[in-house]
């Protein structure tokens, strides 16, 4: 990333541009180019497949799609559910992840921080279906009384209008489980960036009389801003595409609604494909692929936006390795 390493160790003696003709360089250049091209080809292949398979659904008359609805009418609630659950995940998970990362990098005693780092990394290795099962059997029932309380005391807000789901399998639960799932990604990347803050910046801030929080505020956070945005966007990408956990967890039986705690929730694109694909046939399959194409586009846009933010901030942060 940003580690600028000059000539070190044994190769310190200057050699003037004679490296290009060596076989090692050629092989390395070849493999690197091949790897880079392969990624582009894969992406293009996926896009081509999606477009090709979705084409019948895109061109079919709106009332003929296997679902009895027009494609947009069908896809819109799913898109809404996808974005809503991911947004909840991001709003809850990203600040929490950054907080954990700051604690590990700047507050915790060294022993504790190493252990904590391992635990967070371990969280990233838990398969998503396990999160889904945990959500259904443990987390959702535990949230039911809280949802009930929200309905009674904050029922005027459209988010908590109720009626409360008796099982707790709501879009809010799904968003919270997704928040737990994106936590390791956000934490691990943020922690690495925080640790790379130049020691001099930090010490200078402290020497000027800053408290520890002020030091973090004025030297660590500005330096790490682009990295934290990248981390959040990676987490968002995971939340957008999460399939099995949501398929198990979410009671997707409604359309677009602001209500976060009832049984009638919008589904998400990825989970809906997983649920409906096995028994789908004909145009129904094409419709599902078309929603997949939509998710692909959304993810693409999210990544482009993240890249744009990172690029804009790169010069400012000083992280121009």
């Amino acid at each position: 990333m940003s580690q600028t390493t000059g000539p070190t160790g044994t190769g310190a003696r200057p050699r003037r541009r004679r490296t290009t003709g060596r076989p090692g360089d050629k092989v390395f250049k070849g493999t690197a180019t091949f790897a880079g091209t392969l990624i582009l080809l894969t992406l293009a292949g996926v896009a081509a497949f999606l477009v090709y398979q979705a084409l019948p659904a895109l061109t079919a008359p709106s009332d003929a799609s296997g679902t009895g609805l027009g494609l947009l009418t069908y896809a819109w609630p799913l898109l809404y559910g996808t974005i809503l659950s991911s947004a909840i995940a991001l709003v809850v998970g990203a600040p929490l992840g950054v907080g954990i990362a700051l604690f590990i990098s700047h507050f915790a005693p060294r022993r504790l921080s190493t252990g904590l780092g391992y635990v967070v990394d371990l969280l990233a290795a838990v398969p998503s279906i396990v999160f889904g099962l945990w959500g259904v059997t443990t987390f959702a029932p535990a949230l039911v009384p809280i949802y009930g309380w929200l309905e009674r005391n904050a029922g005027l807000l459209p988010f908590f209008a109720g009626p409360t789901s008796p099982t707790g399998r709501t879009i809010l639960t799904a968003g919270l489980v997704l928040a737990v799932m994106i936590l390791p990604v956000v934490t691990a990347i943020s922690r690495d960036i925080f640790l790379q803050t130049p020691r001099l910046h930090e010490e200078a801030a402290l020497a000027l009389g800053a408290t520890r929080w002020e030091m973090i505020q004025y030297s660590v956070l500005p330096y790490a801003r682009s990295g934290v945005v990248s981390a959040a966007m990676l987490g968002l990408g995971r939340a957008l595409g999460e399939t099995m956990a949501v398929a198990l967890l979410l009671s997707a039986s409604g359309g677009v609604t602001l209500n976060l705690i009832s049984s009638a929730n919008p589904g998400t694109i990825a989970a809906n494909i997983a649920l409906q694909f096995p028994e789908s046939s004909g145009l129904g399959t094409n419709v599902l692929v078309a929603t997949g194409l939509l998710l692909f586009v959304v993810t693409f846009v999210v990544n482009l936006a993240a890249r744009a933010i990172v690029n804009r901030r790169a010069g400012f942060s000083g992280a121009d390795g």
Binding site: T67, G68, V136, T137, A140, P141, P163, S165, P166, T167, G168, R169, A247, L248, L250, S251, A252, S253, G254, G255, S262, S263, A264, G267, L275, Q276, P278, E279, S280, S281
Partner: protein
């Protein structure tokens, strides 16, 4: 140096390879020692029989393929529960010689089957009948009887409280304690859903104004994935009612429905009778035994909410070996012994002896083209 990391990687790679070759495929070729031999005339069969289809059939298939392989050690039977649509597609494209499906082939598929079956035709053989229970979670209410109209109104979310007079009227006039009704439905497309809708539409078209599809049509219920998801959701939510394969419902209450003026529970016997009082689908090719499930039986003691699942085979196969294998396997699954084995393991409703004989007669026409 320490070599353990590399060996660990190798182990991991090996585990992954093994893991990647099996998923989704119920390769049930374990040999059950001491199983009763499968009676069946005809030549000794050998080879591998691959089949694919409905996600309702893995449970009986487990019993069938274990017993069948025990009797024919040279045979391996595989079943891939890709779904009914996927199974029919693979069958029609020649990928598998045998498909399991919750729906019979439609006319267009029958036409395509003529090509696939070397000039012969395809046969839909109903071999798996399973009652669909209306399961509910109402502590303190041991018995519940519902008329078709009440069932329709509950599942269409017109009746939303257990103390509703309509429910009381079905249960001898005594009102149930008040409490919201949560309807639990499948979130994935399913033959179970389709059969329940077919029952509701046949019995109470005005109270359940929806089309018969495998997608649940009413919004706002508690949607859960798969039979197990539905059962778990009912268990988790007091006041819930949902529909699921009877054998998977466990200790939840099962509502009795009123049919022919009498309350009937989802027992295997009551479900099996449906097949006997149902008419064959008209205009099917020779040997095809697809039935129009009778949702409004006039005979007493018939439980009309059932799932009838088919095994789909050709009358003509390319090789003698394939023909013999399919003939022997369905011959066993549709026999009284095969039906009993499935009932023991999967809780299905065994076919009547007359049905078994009818399927055996249809199987007699299976030949090889070469």
């Amino acid at each position: 140096m320490n070599r353990s990391p590399s060996s660990r990687v190798a182990l991991l790679a090996a585990t992954l390879t093994v893991g990647l070759t099996v998923p989704g495929c119920v390769a049930v070729n374990e040999r059950t020692g001491g199983a009763s031999p499968v009676a069946g005339p005809g030549p000794a069969v050998s080879g591998t029989l691959n089949s694919a289809g409905a996600s309702t059939q893995p449970a009986p298939f487990q019993a069938w393929s274990a017993r069948f392989s025990a009797a024919h050690p040279e045979v391996t039977v595989n079943y891939d529960p890709v779904g009914s649509g996927g199974g029919r597609k693979q069958f029609l494209e020649g990928g598998v010689p045998l498909a399991g499906s919750d729906a019979a082939l439609d006319d267009e598929e029958l036409e395509r089957a003529r090509e696939r079956c070397d000039g012969g035709s395809a046969m839909d053989l109903p071999v798996y009948v399973s009652p669909i229970a209306l399961a509910y979670n109402l502590p303190g209410t041991p018995d519940l009887t519902l008329s078709p109209v009440t069932v329709a109104r509950i599942f269409d979310q017109q009746v939303t409280d257990w103390s509703d007079p309509a429910i009381a009227a079905d249960n001898g006039g005594a009102a149930l304690p008040a409490g919201a009704i949560t309807v639990v439905n499948r979130s994935d497309d399913s033959g179970t859903t389709e059969n329940l809708i077919a029952y509701l539409v046949a019995n109470a078209p005005d109270d359940f104004p929806h089309e018969v599809t495998d997608t649940w049509p009413v919004a706002g219920g508690e949607a859960a994935k798969g039979t197990s998801g539905v059962v778990d959701a009912i268990k988790a939510g007091e006041g819930s009612i949902g529909y699921a394969d009877e054998s998977q419902v466990g200790d939840l209450g099962r509502a009795e429905v009123v049919a022919a003026g009498q309350a009937v529970g989802p027992t295997a016997e009551a479900a099996a009778k449906v097949v006997d009082v149902s008419e064959p689908v008209p205009g099917r090719p020779e040997g095809d035994l697809a039935i129009e499930v009778n949702r409004t039986p006039e005979e007493a003691g018939v439980y009309p909410i059932v799932l009838v699942s088919y095994q789909i085979a050709c009358t003509t196969y390319a090789t003698q070996q394939e023909a013999d294998l399919v003939k022997a396997f369905i011959g066993y699954t549709s026999s009284q012994q095969g039906q009993k084995d499935a009932a023991d393991i999967a809780g299905s409703a065994p076919l009547s002896p007359e049905r078994s004989d009818a399927i055996a007669a249809a199987l007699g026409s299976i030949t090889a083209s070469s």
